[in-house]
Symmetry: C2
Subunit: 209 residues, 2 copies
């Protein structure tokens, strides 16, 4: 930063509190109705504001969506030391814990499921966000695998990248089935099982097919 640049003015606490209330309302609306079908007026109503008032804080509906997604990701790591995803074996333990936590917050999971899938459609405003998010998570999971391999004295196999993508994928896919039939699919147990299965196949591969 240029030393003569003034630091940006900190938003007042009331402004921050209002932004957070809008983000929570938007997450609820996008989660239950999707982004395209979830109207700004419904979000504004939930927090006792006007449509214009919400836009004053976030500029546009697209921008609000991106802030909602960032807010959701931050809330996932805010209780972790250093406020970021851990390394090595702890990353995988963190993912198991995240699945357990997700089983207690269907609204948040629903918002994520709907928005991540919608993002593959033409010109969706969250497409770049999700491309970047998955790329980052795959890299972090891949690095964690390499570290675990090193610690256990084995050469990291070429399956590490596939396994990194698969671990994220199985957590996502189980969320859809769990949202559709929560009494039939145990999100936490199934996620933990699949994460361990994929790790075991990286560390000690077996052919069964």
């Amino acid at each position: 930063m240029n030393s003569t640049t003034r630091p940006p003015r900190r938003p007042r606490p009331e402004t921050l509190a209002r932004r957070e209330r809008i983000l929570k309302a938007a997450m609820a609306t996008f989660g239950t109705r999707g982004y395209h079908k979830g109207p700004l007026t419904e979000i504004a109503d939930q927090v006792g504001m006007t449509h214009a008032g919400v836009l004053h804080h976030f500029g546009s509906k697209d921008q609000l969506l991106l802030e909602v997604l960032r807010y959701r990701d931050e809330s996932d790591v805010k209780d972790l030391e250093g406020q970021h995803i851990p390394d090595g074996i702890d990353l995988f333990r963190h993912l198991v814990k995240t699945a357990l936590l997700n089983a207690q917050r269907a609204g948040l999971v629903q918002a994520y499921v709907v928005l991540s899938a919608e993002s593959v459609t033409e010109g969706h405003p969250a497409r770049d966000f999700f491309v970047d998010r998955y790329r980052t998570l795959r890299r972090e999971a891949g690095d964690a695998f390499r570290l675990v391999c090193e610690e256990r004295g084995i050469d990291a196999p070429e399956t590490v990248d596939r396994a990194a993508a698969s671990i994220l994928a199985v957590m996502d896919g189980l969320q859809v089935q769990w949202l559709l039939e929560p009494e039939k699919v145990d999100l936490a147990e199934a996620s933990a099982f699949a994460i361990e299965a994929i790790m075991a196949q990286v560390l000690d591969p077996r052919e069964v097919l």
Copy 2:
């Protein structure tokens, strides 16, 4: 069937051909834009018909959606013997082949990803379809696991149901990542890896976490 009931009249070949063209157009539109944002007029335009003409064949947009989903599922098994999903180890081989096939048909995969995720939203017309679809597939995958266990002389472990859900989940989740970055995620390879990982963990479980 009551023996005096007349069989329903077979639709004429032209009618069947026109229905199939509408289904393909609807799959393309719902896949690129989602169900809610994909207009019937765009579907009608693709096949040179009017909005009313499309409704004449399918009754409603919701009904068209359900027919699209069934058409997609049928196209998956139409080249298989008996036209249904195989048993035992062949079911898992069929899933690996399906992932390989899916990597050649992004439009179809996109329609499925978007519609299955949208179906978790309030009052979505395809919700029951997907609840039923996943329930059936989990049961079939679970039965296949039990058969493979029996053939290999092992008691089917309690992880079979988790594994059945996980195999479907990882295939779904990888589709999202592949649609977002096809050059970074190899859908066929990653799916085959994850399916084998989950099978191995059922047949011979290991603790690594």
